[in-house]
C-alpha cells in the first residue's frame, strides 16, 4: 500500500512537471519533549521541534503515510499530538482527559494506512472524590482531520494489557498485541481471530514473555519482536532451557511465526526485519543479527552503550540504533561495525523509550 501511494505521488508530480526530490529521514524523540528529524545519509539533525505541553515526556510515534506529520504520544501518556514535520506546527491534538475520567495510552497506537484515523489503546480511570475506579480498557479512534480538540469518533472495549496496535496494510484489520495477538475488526472491535502467544501450543514450554512497544516496521511492514521462554523439560540450571525466539507478523499478508534462534544469552529489547528479508537486527547492550532463513544467530557485537530501538534504511544497507541515551549510531549490517553516530542537540534529556521511525518524504530544505 505504501509503495503504491508513493508511486501515485511520483506520477502526480511528474504530470505537473515539478521535480521533487525524496529523502529518507529517521524520527526520534527526547525528553523533555522534543522530536528530531535526522538525515542519516548526511549524518545530521535537520529539524528539532518542541512538542507543546509535553509534560516532559515522549513515547511512541506514528508518521502519516505521506511523511508530512508525525503523531506523538506525549504528556505522560495523556495526549497525542500531531506535528508538521517541516515546520513543527501543532496540527492535531487529542487530550484524553474528560471530566472525571483520566485516560492514558500505554504506547499502543497506530495510524491507518490511508492516514485518516488514529487507533489508540487507553486505560481508563474514574477519579472520584476519595477513590479511583478502573473502567474497562478500550480502543478510541480519532479522525486525523479533527484539529486541536480531537475527540474519538468511535470507541470499543479491548482486552487488558495491550502494548502494541498495528493496522494491516489494507486497513481491514487492527492487530492488538497483549497476552495474545487479537485480530480485530477496526470498525467494531470484534475479535475475529486470536493469534496465540500466551495460548501457544508448544509442548514443555513456559508461557512466552513478550514486551515490546517499538513500532519499527516502516521498511517491511513486518512487525518483529523477541520472545523469551523456558523449556520445562530441561533442568533450571541448563542454559539450553532458556530460549530466545523471534516473532514476526506480516501486516501485509497476516503471516505469523515464532522461531527460536538461540539459547538466551543476552537481553534484546526490540528488533527490525531487514528489507532484504534475510536478516533481522536486535538491540539492547549488544547489536544482534538473526538469520531469518536458518533461524540462527548470525552475529553479535557489543555496542558502546545500551540502546532500546533499532531501525534500518530502505535499502537495508544501514542499521540504526537509538532510544535510551542521546545519540543514534549507524552500523554496517554485514560487518556489524559502527560507521556513524549522531549526537542529538543540547538539552537532550535522553531518548528514553521513544519510538524511532523511518519516513520517506519530500526533502526538507
Amino acid at each position: 500500500m505504501r509503495k503504491i501511494v508513493m508511486f501515485l505521488g511520483a506520477v502526480f508530480l511528474l504530470s505537473t512537471g515539478v521535480q521533487a526530490e525524496n529523502t529518507e529521514y529517521l524520527i526520534t524523540g527526547t525528553k523533555p519533549g522534543f522530536i528530531h528529524i535526522l538525515d542519516m545519509k548526511k549524518q545530521k539533525v535537520v529539524r528539532s521541534h518542541e512538542i507543546p505541553n509535553a509534560g516532559r515526556t515522549v513515547f511512541s510515534f506514528a508518521p502519516s503515510p505521506d511523511g508530512k506529520i508525525v503523531y506523538v504520544l506525549t504528556n505522560r501518556m495523556k495526549s497525542i499530538v500531531g506535528l508538521d514535520i517541516d515546520t513543527g506546527e501543532q496540527v492535531f491534538r487529542a487530550d484524553f482527559i474528560k471530566g472525571d475520567i483520566r485516560r492514558q495510552a500505554f504506547y499502543a497506537f497506530d495510524i491507518s494506512r490511508d492516514g485518516k484515523e488514529l487507533y489508540v489503546y487507553q486505560l481508563s480511570t474514574r477519579i472520584m472524590l476519595s477513590e479511583y475506579q478502573q473502567l474497562p480498557t478500550r480502543i478510541a479512534v480519532y479522525d486525523t482531520s479533527s484539529g486541536l480538540k480531537a475527540e474519538p469518533i468511535r470507541t470499543f472495549e479491548a482486552p487488558r494489557r495491550i502494548h502494541m496496535l498495528m493496522k494491516s496494510t489494507d486497513d481491514k484489520w487492527l492487530y492488538a498485541l497483549g497476552f495474545d495477538i487479537y485480530k480485530m475488526n477496526p470498525q467494531t472491535g470484534e475479535i475475529v481471530e486470536t493469534l496465540p502467544l500466551r495460548n501457544w501450543s508448544l509442548k514443555n514450554r513456559s508461557l512466552p514473555d513478550v514486551l515490546d512497544f517499538w513500532p519499527l516496521w516502516d521498511q517491511t511492514d513486518i512487525f518483529s519482536t523477541p520472545v523469551y521462554s523456558v523449556k520445562t523439560d530441561k533442568a533450571a540450571d541448563d542454559p539450553g532451557a532458556y530460549k530466545t525466539g523471534l516473532m514476526t507478523l506480516d501486516l501485509d499478508t497476516g503471516k505469523y511465526e515464532i522461531n527460536d534462534f538461540e539459547d538466551t544469552s543476552v537481553l534484546i529489547f526490540s528488533t527490525v526485519v531487514s528489507p532484504t528479508g534475510k536478516h533481522a537486527f536486535g538491540t539492547y547492550t549488544q547489536l544482534t543479527k538473526i538469520d531469518l532463513e536458518t533461524h540462527t544467530l548470525a552475529g553479535r557485537i557489543d555496542q558502546d552503550h545500551t540502546y532500546y530501538a533499532v531501525n534500518i534504511s530502505a535499502d537495508g544497507k544501514q542499521v540504526y540504533v537509538g532510544g535510551a541515551a542521546c545519540d543514534v549510531a549507524t552500523y554496517d549490517p554485514d560487518t556489524l561495525t559502527k560507521t556513524g553516530q549522531i549526537f542529538l542537540p543540547k538539552g537532550c534529556g535522553d531518548q528514553s523509550t521513544s519510538s524511532m521511525r523511518m519516513i520517506q518524504r519530500e526533502t526538507l530544505k
Binding site: 486505560l123 477513590e131 514473555d209 552503550h305
Partner: protein, 521 residues
Amino acid sequence: MSGKARLFISGVMLVALSAFSPSSSLAKDVQGKALVNDYCTACHAETDDGGLARISDVRKTPEGWDMTLFRMQNLHGLEIDSDERFAIIKYLSAEYGLSPSESEPFRYVLEQRAHFNDIAVNDDLDALCGRCHTNARYGLQRRTEKDWLKHMHFHVGQFPSLEYQARSRDRFWWQEVTTETYKELAELYPFKTDAWDTWKGADHKSPAGSWRVTGYRPGIGGYQGMMTVTRDGDFYKADYDLYDMTGGALSGDSKAVIYTGYEWRASGMLNGAETREVYALSEDGMRMTGRWHQAAHYDIGGEFQAVRMAGAEAQVLAKSSDYIRVGQEKEITLHGIGLTGKVSSDKGLGLNVTRQDATSVTVKITAGKNMSPGAYVVTVGQAVTEIIVYDKIDRLQVTPDWTIARLGGGKTPPVTAQFEAVAYMTGKDGDIKIGVMSADWQLHAFDEEAEHMKDVEFAGTINAQGTFMPGAAGPNPSRKYATNNAGNLKIVAQVTDGDTIISGEAQLIVTVQRWNTPPIR
C-alpha cells in the same frame, strides 16, 4: 507521579533539634480530630455510621498514615503544614492504628533496616505485591474487604504500567487481584480484630522512668548503660548514659512521641551524630525494643533493648564476649540488672570476680587445657547466662549470606552493607554457635560475568570491620559499556584459629540508588 515530585519529609519523627518542633498541644488527639474534620471532609464524605469515607475503613502504622498524607498532599492537593500533619498522624494512629501484636511481624521495615527477610504469606502475594514494595507495606495495614478492593483500583489507576511489568505480565494481574486477592487480603489483614479492640481499650503505660539499656552495633560491637525518660508536656525526653564494651562513652539524648500507646519515635543525638529511634514499648510497659539509626544513613545504627529498672528481676542482658578458647584466660563483663548475687558456674570454668555492682560484673574466666568444649552456665544470684568454651572453629558463617548495597551520589548517600563472621563448632547435637569473630575481609568476583566486568575494581571497598562501602552512582566512562558501578561480589571472611585459617563466604549485589526512600519501603 505528578509533575511536582516532592521529596518525602517525614512527619512522624520529631526533628527535635531543628526549627520544627511542634507545640506540645498538637499531640493531643482532639487537635488531630478537628484537623481531620477541617481538611479531609472536602473529599472524604461523612458516612452513615458517622465515619469518613475511606479513612474509617483502614488502619495503619504512623509511617503508613504519614505516607498516605504525603500522597493526599502530593497527588490530590491537600494543603497542610508540618505541625498539622503531625497532629493528624498522631490522632489517626490512635484511632485507626495497629496493635502491638499486629505490627510485630513487620517491625524490620519500620526500623529502617538495610537488611531483612521480607515476609510474604505465599509466593503469589510476593509476585502480585511484593515485587514493587515490601510485603510489610501491606502487612502493616488493615482494611475492610471493600477498601482492599478500592486500593487495587488505585494501584492500576496510579501506575498504568503495572500490568506490563515483569512478574505482572505473566498473569492476569487485574483479574486476579479484583476477584481473589482482595478477599485474601481482607482475611489475612482484616479491619476488625480482637487484638485491636483490646489494645485500643487497654491502659497504655507511660515510658517515663529509669531503664537498663543493652544493644549492639553491627561491625562495632555491644554497648550498654542507662536511659532516663522524663515527661515533657505531651512528649518524652530520653537521656542516655551508654558505654561500648571497651568503656568508651556514647552519650546523648532524644525527644520522643508515643503513637498508638506503644510506638516510640524519637529524634536525638548520640556522640554528636543525629539519630532516629524506632522502638516498641511492650504491652506491660516493662521493655522497649527496636533499632536506632543515623538520621542521614538508615543503614548505620544499632539494636536497642531497654528493661525498666523498677520491678525487674535479676538478669544478664549482655556480655562483653560470648566465648573463650580452651587454655585461655579472659576477662568478660556481664551486664544486666540485679547482679548482686554470688557468681558461680558449671564445673570446670575458673571464675575470679574482679568487679561487681548491681548492673555489671567483671569476671576473669579461665578455661583449662583439658576442658571439654561446650556451653557453660554462669549464674549471678538468680541471673543466668552461658559462656561458650571452644577448642577449634569448625565453620565460619558470614552473615547475612546474601544482601545488597546501593551506590551513592548526588543527594542520595550510599547504602553500605555490614557483614559479620560468626564462628561455629561441631557439637554432639549439631553446630554450636561460638560467636562473632574479628576477621580479614576480602572482595572477589562472584561469577565469570563479574570477573569479566571487573566488578571488584569498581563496585566498592570493604574495611576491617566488614563494612562494605559502595562506589559512586552514575555511568562510569572507564567501565565497559560505560555502565554504572554495580557489581556482583563474593565476600570472603578469614579467621585465624591456632594454625589454621577458616573462611566463610557471602554474596553481595551492589546496585543502583533508590530514587525515593519512603518510610515504609
